[in-house]
Every structure is written in C-alpha cells, then in structure tokens.
C-alpha cells in the first residue's frame, strides 16, 4: 500500500462506568460536538467512531465502545473487552456510589483484558458532570492524584459533556499513552515484559506511570 505518507491506526476504546454517569453523553460530545440531556439508556453496547488527525503523518481512528452501565451478563462481557487498547472509566461527581464503583470497573477491566505484552490497558478516569460540582461529594479533588496512582489509572480529568470541558484533553492523554504502548509493543524489549507476565501470573502489573 502506498503508505509512504500517513500511518493509520484503529484503536478500540472502552467507555465504562456506572449507570447514568454520562458515558453516552461524553461520546456524543466528543464525536458529534453535541449534547442532549435525554440520551436513551444504552442496552448492551453502542459504537461511535472518532477520526483524529494526530499529526502530519498519523491518522487515528478511535472506535469507542459505549458499554451499558448495568452489567448483567457477568463473564460474558469479556467479549466486549476483547482487543481493547484503552479505556475511559466514568463516574458522576454528584453521586458517591458511582465513584465507589470505579474500583470495581477497573478491576473488571484488568481482569478481562490485557495488552499483548500482558500489561493492563491504559485507563483514564473521568470525573464527569463537573459543571454540577458544587453539589459534588469530592471535597478535595486533588486526592484523585493519589487515588489514580494507587488504582493504576494513567490519568484523571474533570469533564462535563454538557459544557464541553476536559473531554478532548482526556482523549489526547489516552491516545498519547496508547501510541506510546504501541511503539513499545511493536519493538518489544527482549526480556523485561516476558518475565513480568510470568511473575504476575497473567495479572496486570502493579502500576503504570500516573499523571
């Protein structure tokens, strides 16, 4: 193929989090630059495609998997996670329970999908509905830095699909991480990774760089 010019990447990105945290709204804002308060509840999974002209030589197509907030199929959703290379985990800053569920979602993610080199896929935490943060529960939002480090999130962002805050930045951060991973996987270090996979028994490694 005449690929002397541009590189093309297609990345599968998961968007997960509790029911009603605004996953679909974030995606619609990101892909269609549009917000509506009445998106229907997602049943199963929905899809959206975002094309990014990353730089002069790279086009990136993000296939966003908008996964229903109510997980009812247990292990069967493993199929949804297959071959994903990145994830957004979303919670609603006005509802503490959705934040508490973040750990569960992250654990589920790491349990169900890994990069080809055995590492956890990069995940970015989105604190959504930050336009309503005055009624939020997060007193000291800076603690999220520590939280991310501890739970193995690559980064976190305050977002608002309604006011279009933080979504582009969050996506850029995740894509940058994915590209970085892509390069190391394309040219794997002969040793390091292999050993770690063995050690960790196929589980996610402890930590990736955070923030």
């Amino acid at each position: 193929m005449a690929a002397q010019g541009k590189k093309e990447h297609l990345y599968k990105i998961l968007v997960i989090g509790d029911l009603g945290t605004g996953k679909t709204s974030i995606i619609k804002r990101y892909v269609h630059q549009f917000f509506s308060p009445h998106y229907r509840a997602t049943i199963g999974v929905d899809f959206a495609l975002k094309v990014l002209n990353w730089d002069n030589s790279t086009t990136i197509r993000l296939q966003l998997w908008d996964i229903a907030g109510q997980e009812r199929f247990g292990n069967m959703t493993r199929v949804y996670y297959k071959e994903a290379v990145g994830a957004f985990v979303v919670f609603d800053v006005t509802r503490l329970s959705t934040f508490e569920a973040v750990q569960m979602w992250k654990a589920d993610l790491d349990n169900k999908v890994l990069l080809p080199n055995g590492k956890a896929i990069p995940a970015v935490l989105l604190a959504n509905k930050c336009d309503l943060a005055s009624e939020g529960f997060l007193g000291n939002i800076n603690q999220l830095d520590d939280y991310c480090r501890e739970k193995g999130f690559h980064a976190w962002f305050e977002t608002s699909a309604k006011e279009n805050i933080g979504i582009e930045e969050a996506a850029r951060s995740l894509v940058a991480k994915i590209l970085e991973n892509d390069e190391t996987i394309d040219h794997p270090q002969p040793d390091g990774d292999g050993i770690r996979v063995g050690e960790e028994d196929g589980r996610a490694p402890k930590k990736t760089k955070c923030c």
Partner: protein, 709 residues
C-alpha cells in the same frame, strides 16, 4: 413511469430505456451465471460476482448536460414494500468529473492515489486508504484525468429489491439533442417526483410480494440444483442477485453502478461562507476493491446527500469536522424462498369490527366456535398486528392477563382484584420511600430515576415539555418501583423501562400496564436476577440450536469465529425485544406478533433468525470477527425493513415446523400439543448434554417431552 417517459419525453426516454435495456440484459446474464454457482458456501470468493455491481453502458445519446441541473425528488422515504418502478430519475447533475476509477485487484503494488489533485485531494486519498488497504495493480487503475460527464441516479427494482443505480456518462459521449427535448427533461423530473409521492402513500403490503416467492433467491446452504432451477423465472427487478457487469471496454467508458451492491459511499464537501456545500467529492467503493471518485465543482451535493439520507438501506453518519458524510449500505437480501402458507390470507390489521364481532352476549366468545374464532383473530394479529386504537383492549388478552373465554363479569372481577393488589403495592412503596430502608431499594430508586427520564421521551405521551408528559414519566417510575416490591430479589434491570413505556402509553392506565408488564417480563424477556447471569447464557441455547438447524451456513461461520457463538450481537435484540432495532411503530408490530404465540411460543427467536439470514451473508463474506460482527449488527439498527424481517421470520417458523427433526432444546419453541400431534418434526435428543446416546431419536408420541430432556 414508463408510460410517462414514453409519452412525454422522447429524448430522455430513449436514453433511459436504452440504458436499461442494456443493463437489464446484462443483469440477466450475470444473474444466471451467479445462480449456477450459488450452491457454494456463502463467502467463497467464487460466488462473488467478479463484476462487482458495475456495468458499462454503450454509447447512448444523452440530453444536453448544460441544461439539466441537480434535482432531487423532495420526499423519498421509501418503504421497502412499496412498488418501485424502473427509471425513476431521482437525481441528476451535469459536469460531474470522474476523477479516477480503480478496478479489482489481485496482486501487485502501486500507489492507489488519484492522479489529479482536486478540490479535496487528501480527503479522497484518505478515504481510499481507509476503505481498502489492498494493493492495486497498475493495469487495473484507469487514470482518467478529470473527465466531465453527466451523472444521474435512478431507482430500479420493486419491493425489497429496490436499489439505486448511479449512471455517469462522459460529455464526449453525449449527442446534443434539440431544444424541444430539453424542455421535456423538466417534465421527467416532475413526473418522477410525483410518482415517488404516490409510492409513499402506498406503504405496502406484503401480499404483493407473495406471488413472487418462487423466484426469490435461495440461501446458500440450499441445494445448488434447486436454486439454479428457479433462477430462470426471476426478473432483473429481484434482489439478491443483481450484481452486474463491468465497464471493461467501451469507447466512452460510461459507468453504471448498482449502489445497493456497494459497500460505502463517502461524500466530502467544502462549504462557502453561508454553509452551502459548494464542491466536493463522492467516493463510491464496492465490497471488493473498486473505487470511483466523482468530483462536484458546482453544487449539487446537498441534494445528493439528501437523496442518500432518505434511502432506507443507507446508514448515514456525518463527520462535521472532516466535512464528510458516510453512507454504509446494508441492502437486505431475501434468503428464504418458501413463505409461510398463511401469508396473504389475511389482508389487514385487526380492526374494531373484527374484534367486536368476537364477543357474544355475556361479553364472551361463544363456546361452540371459540377456538376457531380466536385462532382466526390471533392469526390476523400475527400477520398484521392490531389497529392502534384497539391496542389497549387487545393487548391484555395477548399477554394472558385475560382469557379469551372469560365473561365480561369475570374480567370485571379480575380488574377489581388487580386494582386492589396494585394499590396495596402503592402503599408499600410510599412506606419504603419514607423509611428509606435498604440499600437495594435506594440503588433501585436511583437507577430507575436515571432511566425513566430518558425513555421514549420523543413519544407524545412522554414529551418532556408538557406537564402531562412529566406526570406520565412519574407514573412509569411508580410502576417500576411497585414491580421491585412485587418481585423482591429481581431488582431493576436496564431495559425494563423500554418494555414498560409503550405499554403504559397505549393502556393509559397504570394498573393494567403494571399487570401486562408483569406478564411481559415473565413471558418473553430475559430479565433475571443480576446474580444469576447463567440463566441468560442458558436462554441463548435454543437460539444457537435454531441457527444450527435453520441457518447451518451461518452457524458454521459463527463456530469458526472466536466467541462467535456467544451471540453477543443479539443480546439487545432479546433484552428489549428489538425495540432499539426498529422504530416505535415497527417495534410494536414485532411485539404483537410475538405475543400471539401463534405457531410458536418463541417468535422473537425466529425474528433473530430472519435478521441473521437477511444480513448474515455480508458478515460471512467479509469473515468478520466478533468485534466487527457486533458493530455490523449494531449499525443495522433502524435500517431494517420491518415487513421483510417479519415475513422471513414467519417463513422460518414454517420451515421449522415442516422439518423432519428438531433438537430437544427446541421443544420450548412450540406448545406441548404441537409435539404430541405432529409427526414431523420429531424431537431428537442425541446431542443433549449429560444424556446417554440411548435417548437418540426417540419419538415424542411415545414419550413425554420432560422425560426426554
């Protein structure tokens, strides 16, 4: 339309008829060729027509391009069953440049880029890359420079076979016509738009398709002999086979493309200050490796996009950032030749007249002919549904809330009991709200709160801008909360609001809606306690087995695809019974057919089968993996023609009932009487898990079903 052309517009009539004569003869030829191979497994490269849905037309006289401007008929939303005729010109535009055309490829390499930088060259190149990363041989690429020509799009085919044909002829091939003809071109445009409107009104009935059934194409797993024998009777207007002929060699290189056979059309545009789409490119790509790039320099794109948006089988996505419209084409294919024998016997929906005629003096159906009468009425619903104004009366019967043989006094008593029990639940709910006890309750309330406000809000009954709408949303919430109390342990499941909302909107009564909802969740839906996902998995078993029996070609493809048999792509279909796949009205037709329990207790599974049958070949051809499969079936949402899907589903019910054997996991699809009365199909238990082979092929007539499984 033909008549219109014949009478009023000599010049253009010659053009289009001539074109179609050529096309038609080629279609027929290629069709026969294809049919003879159609016994091959779907997906085999050999079965694909090498000619890729393209045909060349010879040197025909065309009207003076300088006079025709782009022109689209205003309202084109077509129902698949509406009888289309050939030759409707839906769009035309002069001076469209064919920038490049790249033919089928096998090996070799060269850069697959158009030679001329146009208004939006990077977009075209990008799209070429995106579409197929295949390497293309130099020979097959025809560097045409930038040839101006006349582009027009016509409709062709009737019923489910309707498609769009894109025709393009270089200006050099056009013979100037006299001025008198030019005026008649406008007539043609007007005539075709009139015609379109009339089709729209005839939102059709399936009956018209029935007589054609012998000539419908057959599914790939059928015997090649039988399918080829039927091909001689098929006409070019039929679907599934109409791939065509490549323009290999004519002097003027006219192009005619069956857009229904293409994969993706992308339209890139530039806008002026006022936002008008003034110029751009259209890239048409086939399912193989053919591309055509048409350049528009002087408007016409808005109408073109409008036309494509209005076409049922084109799935539309707009990417404003990259100034691009993408149309993915999902042309349905008839896959089953034998329709249900009851097809066509019933002509219309269940009307007030029919329904009221059922009931005798005591408000009950006379016992003597009760079974027969009920069956007749249920058949009407199965084939055509219920008239909207009757729904609130008929649904409680269909869902089993009332028995058909009850008297009006008995029903009144039942209604009172229902009310009492429901109001008791109301009281309990208010208490729970006040005490705020229990985490499960709090979570349930929260989730329901989130979901009710985003369910069917475009439906007039729930429209948010009116006080009434908000009140109805509140009722929805109360019913669901009451249901949580009524069925402790189940919990709220997403999708419940989707099932309940139409019930409440039709019943307009919370008590009846509640009890109907209860029946619905019990009977057809897949809602189970969240801690028991196994049951969901288990409920897919009959569907898997049904695919194996009715669509063996699709089953073996799924089997060979990693996680294919997880059937994750049909979970949404089952969970909310196709509510997200069809429009509101179409969904209700599917639901009503399912609720009748006519011929089968699991009609929804046959609807799944129909969708897989109609669209699955594309998946097999492209050897999609499970990811692609999920995206593919998800994208079909709202593009599927309801009547086609339902007709095929009914046909598969019939096929199932007339097959020789059925696996024992399928016993639940039919009522017990069915297995006891019929000699075919017999239930076979040989493959039952955990059973010895000794139970193989035992006949139900001697053994009750439960003993077998």
């Amino acid at each position: 339309m033909k008549a219109v052309f014949g009478k009023t517009i000599g010049g253009i009539s010659y053009l289009t008829r001539g074109t179609y004569n050529v096309l038609t003869s080629r279609f027929r030829r290629s069709e026969t060729g294809e049919r003879s191979e159609s016994g091959e497994r779907a997906g085999s490269e050999r079965e694909m027509n090498p000619l890729n849905g393209v045909s060349a037309v010879g040197d025909h006289s065309l009207p003076d391009p300088s006079l025709s401007s782009s022109n689209t008929s205003p309202s084109l939303r077509r129902h698949p069953a509406s009888p289309l005729q050939e030759d409707d010109i839906l769009y035309r535009k002069n001076n469209v440049y064919l920038k490049c055309r790249i033919g089928s490829a096998d090996t070799g390499d060269s850069e697959a880029t158009p030679t001329n930088g146009g208004s939006n060259p990077s977009a075209a190149i990008r799209s070429l890359r995106n579409l197929k990363a295949a390497s293309l041989p130099v020979e097959s690429k025809q560097k045409e420079g930038k040839v101006p020509g006349f582009l027009f799009i016509t409709s062709r085919g009737a019923n489910y076979g309707s498609t769009l044909i894109l025709n393009w002829a270089p200006n050099s091939s056009i013979i100037k016509c006299s001025g008198s003809i030019n005026s008649t071109i406008c007539t043609a445009g007007e005539a075709s738009s009139d015609h379109t409107t009339s089709h729209e009104n005839e939102r059709g009935t399936i009956d018209e398709a029935t007589p054609q059934s012998p000539s419908l194409s057959s599914i790939p797993n059928e015997q090649p002999t039988s399918s080829s024998s039927s091909s001689s009777s098929s006409s070019s207007s039929l679907p599934a086979t109409s791939t065509t002929t490549v323009a290999t060699r004519t002097e003027h290189k006219c192009v005619s493309i069956d857009l229904g056979e293409m994969e993706i059309i992308r339209v890139f545009y530039h806008t002026d200050e006022s936002g008008c789409k003034i110029s751009g490119e259209m890239v048409v790509s086939s399912r193989q490796t053919d591309f055509w790039v048409f350049q528009f320099q002087n408007g016409g794109l808005t109408d073109l996009i409008h036309l494509f948006c209005s076409w049922d089988y084109f799935n539309h996505q707009e990417h404003r950032e990259s100034q691009q419209h993408t149309f993915t084409i999902f042309r349905p294919k008839l896959s089953l030749s034998q329709l249900h024998p009851g097809e066509g016997e019933v002509k219309s929906v269940l009307t007030r007249e029919l329904w009221d005629g059922l009931f005798g003096p005591e408000g009950r159906i006379a016992e003597s002919d009760c079974v027969k009468k009920v069956k007749e009425n249920v058949a009407v619903v199965f084939f055509h549904g219920v008239s909207p104004s009757l729904r609130k009366e008929v649904w409680p019967y269909l869902l089993g809330l009332y028995q058909f043989d009850s008297t009006s006094r008995e029903r009144e008593a039942a209604r009172l009991t229902h009310c009492r029990r429901y109001w008791a639940l109301d009281d309990q709910r208010i208490q729970s709200d006040e005490s705020g006890q229990g985490e499960e309750w709090v979570v349930g309330v929260q989730q329901i709160d989130k979901d009710v406000v985003r369910t069917d809000r475009s439906h007039p009954y729930y429209k948010g801008d009116r006080e009434e709408g908000r009140r109805h949303v509140g009722t929805l919430k109360h019913i669901l909360l009451n249901y949580l109390i009524h069925k402790p342990g189940l919990g709220y499941c997403q999708g419940m609001t989707d099932l309940l909302a139409p019930l409440l909107a039709s019943m307009e009564n919370d008590v009846e809606a509640f009890w109907c909802f209860e029946k619905l969740v019990e009977g057809t839906a897949y809602f189970k306690p969240a801690d028991n996902p196994v049951s969901v998995e288990k409920q897919l078993e009959p569907l898997r087995m049904l695919i194996k029996q009715l669509l063996p070609w699709f089953h073996s493809y799924l089997e060979s695809t990693e996680n294919g048999l997880s059937l994750m792509f049909c979970h949404r279909w089952l969970l909310v019974c196709f509510k997200r796949e069809f429009s509101e009205e179409d969904t209700l037709a599917v639901w009503e057919a399912c609720w009748t329990n006519y011929a089968t207790a699991s009609f929804h599974l046959f609807v799944c089968i129909a969708v897989m049958a109609i669209y699955g070949q594309r998946a097999v051809e492209k050897q999609m993996n499970i990811n692609e499969l999920m995206v593919f079936f998800n994208t079909l949402s709202l593009t599927m023609p309801r009547e086609l899907v339902l007709t095929q589903a009914r046909g598969y019910v019939h096929q199932f009932c007339t097959s020789k054997t059925a696996h024992c996991t399928l016993a639940s699809l039919m009522p017990p009487e069915f297995w006891l009365c019929s000699t075919s199909p017999r239930l076979e238990c040989g493959l039952c898990r955990g059973l010895s082979t000794s139970c193989e092929s035992r006949d139900l007539q001697t053994t009750p079903m439960e003993a077998l499984c």
